[in-house]
Amino acid sequence: MQGLADKLEWIQLSIAYAWPEIWLCISVVLLLFASLIQSNQNKWIDALALMAFLISLLLSALQFAESNTSMALFNGMLRLSDFSIYIKVLIDLAAVLTVFMSYAQQEKKGEYYALIATATLGAHLLCMSNHFVMAFIALELISLPSYALAAFGFQKKSMEAALKYFLFGSVASAIMLYGMSLLYGITLTLDFTSATFQQAVLYNQSYFLIISVCMVLIGFLFKLSSAPAHPWAPDVYEAAPTPLVAFFSVVPKLAGLSILLRFMQVLSLNGAASIRWYIIIGLVAMLTLTVGNFAALLQKNPKRMMAYSSIAQTGFLLIGVITLSEQGLHFMLFYATVFLVGNYLVFWYISFFEDRSISAIEQYAGTGKNYPFASIMLLIGLISLTGLPPTAGFMGKLFIFSSLWSSYESSEGMMYLLVFIVGLLNTVVSLFFYLKIPYQAFLKSESQVLIIKKSPLINLLGFILVMVLLGLFFMPSGLMGWLNRITFAL
């Protein structure tokens, strides 16, 4: 019985630390209630959703301030560390931006926001989870609402996209689950950060372990939409409404990245593992980079192109996982932040142009003259994703490549050099397709008449995002100083 008392007391303690998650649950319920009494054109639901996500952002940010030690919550289910708090802040930021973007969403606004809140909750939990059960449930908590959200376009092709996403997602999670059960068989414990798990893995450096780990990885890579599990992304991105596409391209990726990172840290047993996992992740990263960049060359639809570009960006994020050194991860977080801002800026303006019935890349011809401010902002966003100097994208790429070079220098592994070169070549190739839209916008004269709709609010927010991008370039030490305080203890 004594154990029981400790456990209950531990739960009470950890509830105090789980406020952002609890608030999200409350907001899900609130939003569902709101969806019951909603009529069509009422803005108060947007305000409610915005308030919900802002408070959750506030709560997670507050958490960042006070504790810098990492502590296990709910009997080892979750681990609240600076790293996961930072990721949670990013996720909430993404959610807030998504709410801003979805002012155009007419039908079913209540359910729409409820599902987004659930997915955010799932992302919060995934990046903190220590335990297979928790990880699986958090993953499903993100995926299932996303399948439903993918269908929120309510046209023919969004249904098809939802079906694709659902089938692919459920198969991936089934395989991941099977992998987890195999790992349970090997280590007989579900808490993968515990000592018994690490002991068992240490003694079991066998092929079987590789198979089971790879099956588990399939689940995480599906969430990251990286190479082997990426085909779903272009179709879903093309069909789903743009705010959601932005949400899908960032939030599940960040959560998947953190769980993958945590899992890899465990498996590497800080250097003791005889299986060199970084080679597997390296190969995945290279495959992702190449597929993402080359496939994007031929795309006609901006959203589909952005799908492949976000796949390529995942490749760069995976590089952070390969280096696994403290500093490499700080740079990965920097790159993730820049990617988030850049991605949202570009999607922001793709939806801006979509409202003006400009959906294919050819139709962007001449927008440079008609919407000078918007196309310049879009241009800066795309430049940041390519990684040209005036924008923070360059700083991110510089850090990623220098961390690769340092790890190559310290460990002489040829894989680092290979990834270094593939990464660089892909930066050049990425220029080909990132410049497609500005090329049409500025260099071509317009083919069809463009309706001019002034929208100061959108431009204002776009301007803020651009300022963040430029600011991060000129003063990276501000953010990096903050990031450097993050520790990655398990």
Binding site: E160, L163, K164, L167, F168, V171, A172, I175, Y207, I210, I211, C214, M215, I218, A227, P228, A229, P231, W232, D235, I280, L283, V291, F294, A295, L297, L298, V429, F432
Partner: protein, 639 residues
């Protein structure tokens, strides 16, 4: 004090022609007629100054005055004046001939639309020539050397509408440029050996290989400028320019700059280089005079005669007696300028007559002329005096300098294989007499051909004055008072040459007899072309085109193609590979991913499914392909 005065005089002397050039540019259209007079006056002052400098400073010790021009690496390049007897002689020749030409062109060029440009470039040319003569270091000399080439380019191409003039001008400049590569090579060698370019130190090259190399390169540079054997085809075509220009540039000053350079750099040359110099000189002399025999255009005859006289001078320097070369240069300047101005006067007179009679035929072709003796008495007299000097009649300056050259050549050959060259010079001087007699006969004494229809009147006094002065200067007393003695005031200043009474007497007898024979020969003949090779100057032009121009153009178009096809092609291929790679991936996507790979056994039954499943959006094949990649990945790692 005397030095400062000397220095300031020198500065004024050099600056005056430049001042005249600027002046003629600045004079407004209204006072156009004032331009020639002013520039003539300025040139007169320069000549007086030069004469006074020569008289005061003759046989004085060398004067060297330098200022810092620029520093390069460890060495500072200087710019300044270096005066010795040779430079004084050259300075006098240049300013005097330039004065004569200015006076002559005053009348000759009256009414020419680009007269302003003409006088500017003439002034600029004289300035550069003086600068070249007085330069103290090789670099400054080279700068003026090229500027002289540039001004000859502009002057040859003076009549811009005549495309032939433009072609001749660019040919002249390019050939000079090819030779100047040799000059630059010499500068580079000397700089790297002695790390300084001032004329005094530059000859102190110790390494024999480099000394020879520098000598030969310098010789190539000179051969270009002074129209020696392989490079002389630009001079005859340079006759497209106005005649006074040919008189000044292509007779007296520019072409002799090369000889001056050889004299100035004489200590540098080793024996082998001097021998080569003689060989080159003699061949040019022989070829020049032979070609002159077959020409019909007065100016072309004079051009080829200049080439052969230049060959003589180069040979003279080669034999070691550079003083004799300077003497011949001195005398040749006067009578050749006289001949050219005479030809100019004839052309001018006939042009005026043609305008009056509205008859058109090529004035310069001697086959059309004849019997001008009666109509242009004074021009005829001067022309005959100068051509007598050219062919080396006794009592004329030509005899003394040519005799000196013959003596030095025979001294130099000393009954070895070198005798051939000595005798070749004798033959070339004989042919000189023949072609000058031919020219004089057919212009003045032969029965008039086409000139009968014209009423030709004597040229105005302003054109005749330089003629008279020049013909007076080609008499014997210019060299020394004793008609047979060539060691006059000039030779005393430089280096007195030896005597060989036998050769002097021999030539004394030979020259008049050969001229009478020629006179007799031409009395009955009318002119027909005899030998094509000589006629077209040994087809050097065509050879030049064949070896240099055509292959150059072919290679050039090849490089253009290389640029277009290879490099651009490879770049496009690179770009296409990227796009093809993308297509490949897309093809791979649509063909393999969507058409699920069926076993051959099943292929027949499944074709329906395969056809329908081409659609891009096939979900199951997505899942299939992800899992298959995972399995292949695991197989690859495990085995």
């Amino acid at each position: 004090m005397k030095q400062e005065l000397m220095l300031s005089l020198l500065l004024i002397l050099v600056a005056l022609p430049l001042f005249s050039a600027l002046l003629s540019q600045l004079i407004s259209e209204k006072y156009r007629w004032l331009n020639p007079l002013l520039s003539g006056l300025i040139l007169l002052i320069t000549t007086i100054l030069a004469a006074s400098l020569v008289s005061t400073h003759w046989n004085q010790p060398e004067l060297l005055w330098q200022i810092k021009w620029f520093e390069l690496g460890a060495h500072t390049m200087t710019a300044g004046f270096y005066i010795n007897n040779t430079t004084l002689v050259m300075m006098l020749v240049v300013s005097f001939i330039s004065l004569m030409v200015h006076l002559f062109s005053n009348g000759y060029m009256a009414g020419d639309p680009f007269e302003k440009g003409y006088y500017t470039m003439l002034g600029f040319f004289t300035f550069c020539m003086l600068g070249l003569v007085l330069a103290d270091n090789l670099l400054l000399l080279f700068v003026f050397w090229e500027l002289v080439g540039f001004s000859s380019y502009t002057l040859i191409g003076h009549w811009r509408e005549k495309l032939a003039a433009a072609k001749a001008a660019s040919k002249a400049f390019i050939i000079n440029r090819i030779a100047d590569v040799g000059f630059i090579a010499a500068i580079m060698i000397l700089y790297s050996q002695t790390s300084s370019l001032s004329l005094t130190e530059v000859t102190a090259v110790t390494d024999t290989f480099w000394r020879n190399a520098a000598g030969i390169c310098l010789l190539i540079g000179v051969m270009g400028k002074s129209a020696q054997f392989p490079f002389f085809n630009w001079l005859p075509s340079a006759m497209e320019g106005p005649t006074p220009v040919s008189a000044l540039i292509h007779a007296a000053t520019m072409v002799v700059a090369g000889i001056f350079l050889l004299i100035r750099m004489f200590p540098l040359f080793t024996v082998e280089v001097l021998d080569i110099m003689v060989i080159v000189g003699c061949t040019t002399a022989l070829l020049g005079s032979l070609a002159a025999l077959q020409q019909f255009d007065i100016k072309k005859i004079l051009a080829y005669s200049t080439i052969s006289q230049l060959g003589l001078m180069v040979a003279a320097v080669g034999t070691g007696a550079y003083g004799v070369a300077l003497l011949h240069l001195f005398t040749h300047a006067f009578f050749k300028a006289g001949l050219f101005l005479g030809a100019g006067a004839i052309i001018h007179a006939l042009h005026r007559a043609q305008h009056a009679a509205h008859v058109h035929f090529d004035v310069q072709d001697i086959r059309h002329l004849g019997g001008l003796k009666k109509v242009l008495p004074i021009t005829a007299l001067c022309f005959i005096i100068c051509s007598a000097a050219l062919s080396g009649f006794p009592l004329f300056s030509g005899f003394q300098s040519k005799d000196a050259i013959l003596v030095s050549l025979f001294e130099w050959s000393g009954n070895s294989w070198r005798l051939i060259f000595a005798w070749s010079v004798v033959i070339s001087s004989a042919t000189t007499i023949v072609y000058s007699m031919r020219m004089v006969w057919f212009i003045f004494f032969a029965t008039p051909q086409k000139t009968t229809q014209l009423t030709v009147s004597e040229v105005p006094f302003l054109l005749r004055l330089p003629l008279i002065v020049l013909s007076v200067c080609s008499l014997w007393f210019v060299v020394s008072f004793h008609p047979l003695e060539y060691n006059g005031w000039l030779m005393e200043g430089i280096v007195p040459a030896k005597h060989n009474l036998f050769i002097t007497w021999l030539s004394m007898i030979l020259v008049p007899s050969v001229s009478i024979m020629a006179w007799w020969w031409f009395r009955k003949r009318t002119l027909q072309p005899v030998n094509h090779i000589l006629q077209n100057g040994f087809y050097l032009d065509h050879l030049n085109d064949l070896i240099l121009k055509k292959p150059g153009l072919i290679v050039a178009s090849k490089t253009e193609k290389i640029d277009k096809r290879w490099i651009d092609g490879s770049l496009h291929a690179l770009a296409y590979t990227q796009v093809t790679m993308a297509h490949l991936l897309a093809w791979f996507d649509t063909w393999i991913v969507d058409g699920t790979v069926n076993g051959i056994a099943w292929m027949a039954r499944q074709t329906g499914a395969l056809a329908r499943s081409f659609s891009g959006g096939k979900i199951q094949s997505y899942i299939f392909w992800s899992v298959i990649t995972l399995i292949i990945f695991l197989f690859w790692i495990l085995f």
